[in-house]
């Protein structure tokens, strides 16, 4: 099987996000960078498919030079090789530009199944997997929590509001991974040693022949609206506090 897993490097979930004073973005000086958690589920599922059915796993990543670390992490988990699309012209890429870059790389690689995270936890767009599928002209299965491979097709479970769908799709296809799909492994020490020698091909936008101007642009980054200071509900006993809270929710906040 030829399996592709797309990864992105993002700030750790515990990171404090500070907006630059001029609104041009976030201050990334103090940030710890990690593999996007949803991409980890994709890499793990890719590795499990390979272990069961044979084949190889290629990691594809669009991101600045530091993102090489994330590619090495995926290689240390067990992926075979990587492609790193690294170009300052892509620093402000939107989902369409990112998907175009991934599609340009993947078109040149044999692919039976392509994994992406259901969304990256930095810009929270959740668009790249579906856009990539469209640009490759193949089906997409988004938000997948279970996957069964059956030769020329896959059967998946995807949760929607108030229900779960079981869907069958012919390969090749794009699958976007949701929490619950699996429990990603940690890289082993021998894995980390081996990863250093695995091949990673670095490409720029010109080599891929893609346009780099974002279609949807974050013109300004702003801090979240400040919440007015809250009240601590008074009372001697828990029951009194509960009664006062219920009154405030009803009469002041008018939410119950």
């Amino acid at each position: 099987m030829n399996i592709i897993a797309c990864v992105k490097q993002v700030p750790d979930t515990e990171a404090q996000i500070k907006v630059k004073a001029d609104g041009s973005g976030i201050d990334d000086g103090q940030i710890k960078w990690v593999m996007n958690p949803y991409d980890e589920y994709g890499v793990e599922e890719a590795l499990r498919l390979k272990e069961k059915n044979g084949g190889d796993v290629t990691i594809v990543c669009v991101g600045p030079a530091r993102a090489m670390e994330t590619i090495r992490t995926a290689l240390a988990m067990g992926a075979d090789k990587g492609v790193h699309v690294s170009d300052p012209a892509l620093d402000n890429a939107d989902a369409f530009v990112t998907a175009s870059a991934l599609a340009a790389v993947i078109k040149g690689l044999p692919h039976d199944i392509i994994f992406c995270g259901q969304r990256a936890i930095d810009d929270d767009s959740g668009q790249v997997g579906a856009m990539l599928a469209e640009l490759l002209g193949i089906p997409q299965l988004t938000l997948v929590t279970k996957l069964e491979y059956a030769g020329s097709s896959v059967k998946v479970i995807r949760p929607i509001e108030g229900a779960q769908l079981s869907i069958e799709t012919a390969l090749p296809c794009v699958v976007t991974a949701q929490k619950g799909l699996n429990e990603p492994r940690y890289a082993s020490l021998p894995g980390i040693m081996k990863a250093k020698k695995k091949p990673v091909d670095v490409k720029n936008a010109a080599a891929l022949g893609i346009a780099t101007e974002a279609k949807a642009k974050v013109a300004k980054t702003i801090p979240p609206p400040a919440r007015p200071p809250g009240k601590i509900v008074c009372g001697d006993e828990p029951e009194q506090k509960a009664a006062e809270l219920a009154r405030l929710l009803r009469e002041e906040a008018k939410v119950i």
Binding site: A216, P224, I232, P238, A242, L249, V255
Partner: protein
């Protein structure tokens, strides 16, 4: 030249979903500011046309109805093909989707088909100088981005539960479109729809969420939260700590690696307020927190804080609420 606001309505099993009315009302507001028309795309199986009148009631002038058995239930490839075709033929300046599971799946595919830009999960949209400007949370709400567009149509998906739905009757005139789907082009098939029979509203659509964290001490602790949620017609959520401990299913998780929610009322019980949790719920309209640790970071986000033992406060609160809401 591209003109007007188009919404892509969402229906399931013969009923419009609430987000469709939120989309219609929001589009109406945007359109009225510029004297524009609101149109809607409504796709489904035979008979879906009957829902067009309801869209009219919420401000839609014109409904493009596509009926075909292959459009029910929702399959990405079929819906994306017909939706993109309707957009191309009618050239709206703005297209709005719901940021529901289906809307997110569809909008990204359609945006790629049309090679245009899409802002996901917006919490505010406006027309500024004749162009769409969207405000949307990033990093699960740790900051926000103002998005502008370099391509047409400008596309956005709106976060459910944020935009009010208000009746504002317009014609809702039906235009039938050819929605014949080329069966050979559809590679996916829905085999089974397994419904959640609990009757609970999904967290992303709930008006009230009662959430529990590590302070619940175990899965059985959530019983009192279920009772409170029952009285308030709400849904129970959980922090990552509670989910990772196996106390609650993953679909209940609120936070940066779970669901990002914006109910009218969010009651956090025994949740200290790790930054990744706060990110997922801080756009709630009213936040109440119950925690015995007065220093817990959750209190910095809460409108109302109760510093006490939640195992005493929550049952008492349930009893009080029962009296108030009957």
């Amino acid at each position: 030249m591209a003109k007007g606001i188009m919404i892509v309505a969402e229906q399931r099993e013969g009923a419009l979903r609430k987000i469709s009315m939120e989309l219609a009302s929001t589009a109406r507001k945007l359109a009225d500011a510029g004297g524009d028309e609101v149109s809607a795309v409504l796709l489904g199986g035979p008979g879906v046309e009957t829902l067009a009148a309801e869209l009219g009631k919420y401000g839609v002038d014109k409904v493009f109805v596509g009926e075909d058995a292959a459009l029910d239930p929702y399959v990405t490839e079929a819906h994306a093909a017909i939706t993109a075709k309707i957009i191309k033929e009618n050239d709206p300046a703005v297209v709005l989707f719901g940021a529901s599971v289906q809307g997110k799946d569809l909008s990204a595919r359609v945006a790629a088909k049309l090679a245009t830009g899409l802002a996901t999960d917006c919490t505010d949209v406006k027309i500024d100088g004749g162009k769409l400007v969207c405000t949307r949370p990033m990093y699960a709400g740790k900051c926000f981005g103002e998005v502008t567009f370099n391509a047409s149509p400008a596309m956005a998906s709106l976060r459910p539960n944020v935009f009010p739905a208000a009746e504002n009757a317009k014609a809702g005139a039906v235009t039938k479109v050819d929605a014949k789907v080329d069966a050979a082009s559809i590679k996916s098939k829905v085999l089974e729809v397994q419904k959640d029979t609990s009757g609970k509203v999904d967290l992303t659509e709930a008006n009230v969420i009662v959430s529990g964290g590590r302070g619940m001490k175990g899965p059985e602790g959530f019983g009192i939260l279920e009772e409170l949620a029952g009285v308030l017609k709400g849904t129970v959520g959980a922090s990552r700590a509670a989910v990772d401990a196996g106390w609650r299913p993953q679909k209940d998780q609120v936070g940066q690696t779970g669901k990002v929610v914006s109910p009218n009322l969010y009651i956090a019980c025994g949740i200290s307020g790790a930054i990744q949790h706060l990110a997922g719920m801080s756009s709630s309209k009213c936040i109440a927190a119950i925690n015995k640790d007065a220093e817990a970071p959750i209190f910095a986000k809460a409108d109302y804080g109760v510093v006490d033992d939640l195992f005493k406060v929550v049952p008492a609160l349930t009893a009080e609420c029962k009296k108030l809401v009957g």
